[in-house]
Amino acid sequence: MSEKYDERELEQIMRAGLAERATGAPDRLTEPFVGRHRHRRAWLGAIAAAAVVVGGVGVGLAVGQSDDGRGPDRSPTSAGDPAGVPEDWRAESYGGIQVWVPPAWGTGAAPFEETWDGAGELLHCRDGVPSGPYVGRPVMESDACAVFDSDRQPTPSADFAWIGSVVEPGTIDLGGGYVEETVAVGGVNVTVASTDADLRAQILGSAEAVAVDANGCRTGISTPLRPEGPAEIEATSLSVCLYETDLDGNTVLVWSDRRGAADATAYTEATYETSQLYDAGPCERRSPEGQWLEIGANGPDATRWDVVTFDCMWGETPDSQYPLNKQTVDPWASPAVKMYVVGPSDLHAGLNGYFRGILG
């Protein structure tokens, strides 16, 4: 069947349409060029001015256990397990610093210094005030941001630990019996607030700089990664490592997890099955940018490292590619993944609810 529009006609229509659309473009910047003087960007100023302080509303926390009760197979005896920490505590790491926390603690956001324009304002961007103890990382959980002032913090309603904290080392009385203590470890500040001095000391005492964290995730990434390891493996656990790479190529390990044998088997089987008929289309492997994951399928003698990126909505094993869909994501999904990973939702492959969506 001949097509109604040939290539040349389509190109002409496209050119004309884009040219007409471009007439609606601004011809000057609403805000003067700010790069030279390092002023804050307009949108961030608007956020700060709005300074939405969300209060009084308890929100559910992402806890280290899946909704169906399957607990991740923690590995308390892994390297880095410090002496004196209860066996059921779990490791949490950010930016090469690892701490151990009680199993019921959830995950959340910590204040951070915005560095997009060098203004250096401290913001705490989260989706309400946590109602339970949590480990916070310097990430945007939501676009609702409050300007953070360490000297004017509200009394918390639960214990928390912040890795990569913006609070200076020292001790602050937060009221209500809560004491916030901050120490520097490997150049990174770790803050713990609790009414329990022993618990505070125990968590802070567990903080250490690690090259590979207790979940098996590398904390220092200096080169673009490639999938590596044996293509076929009898996996007994999964290392789930979430990284973020900025535009200058700096990469930080944001969050990690370790899943057990059942999830590891489900994952390797899903990647094999879905890769058989998967057509990756025009997408090609690029240097990681933004958020991406390494999924390590740990076998008895080796680990197969896969790389998951959201540009192409795929994962790559050492010898194949597979789509991100319910089957391949479910084995490593968790409330913490939904907390930290900005990803697709209802538009893609039944992944609604697996990742953080629009604006938190």
Partner: protein, 167 residues
């Protein structure tokens, strides 16, 4: 390079290129606000490296890449999402008066494209760059660029035919 000279050279270049950059960014990002954001971020990076750029061609390529990357990065960082294209379905009684203009149709198709595909289409049909140059801007292979552009045109063809035969 003397700082004052650098300021003057940069200002001169920016004054000449700003409207064009904003139009390009507008087509890549889809909104005036996002276009200004992307251009601000791109200009900041160009300014920082102004003393070391070797040619205006390099600057043009660099700033276009920075606009595209700033847009994609912003989407990732803040969870912003492109608005999916709304499929136009007829009711079986096509009325020419109800048909959207071709410019609107083109834009609707572009809005539905992934960010890099849309950037490739804009670079090809608005900026008139050839495939090798687009590949350099987007830091990908020429084959990928051709695929992006082909998919953009295929989407346009499908939308045109759907509009003319809305069943």
């Amino acid at each position: 390079m003397d700082v004052m000279v650098r300021h003057l050279e940069f200002d001169e270049w920016m004054a000449a290129r700003l409207p064009g950059l904003l139009r390009f960014a507008y087509l890549v990002t889809g909104t005036q606000h996002a276009a200004e954001e992307a251009v601000q971020a791109a200009l900041a990076k160009v300014y920082e490296r102004w003393a070391t750029v070797s040619s205006i061609d390099d600057v043009e390529r660099y700033v276009r890449r920075a606009v595209v990357n700033a847009h994609i990065s912003d989407w990732r960082r803040h969870g912003r999402r492109l608005t999916p294209v709304a499929e136009v379905r007829g009711d079986g009684h096509p009325d020419p008066a109800d048909r959207v203009s071709r410019a609107d149709l083109v834009w609707r198709v572009c809005e539905g494209l992934p960010a890099r595909q849309r950037a490739a289409v804009v670079l090809r049909f608005y900026e008139d760059l050839d495939y090798p140059e687009i590949a350099r801007v987007l830091d990908c292979s020429e084959a990928t660029v051709r695929s992006h552009v082909h998919r953009g045109l295929a989407g346009l063809r499908a939308e045109l035919e759907r509009q003319e035969d809305p069943r």
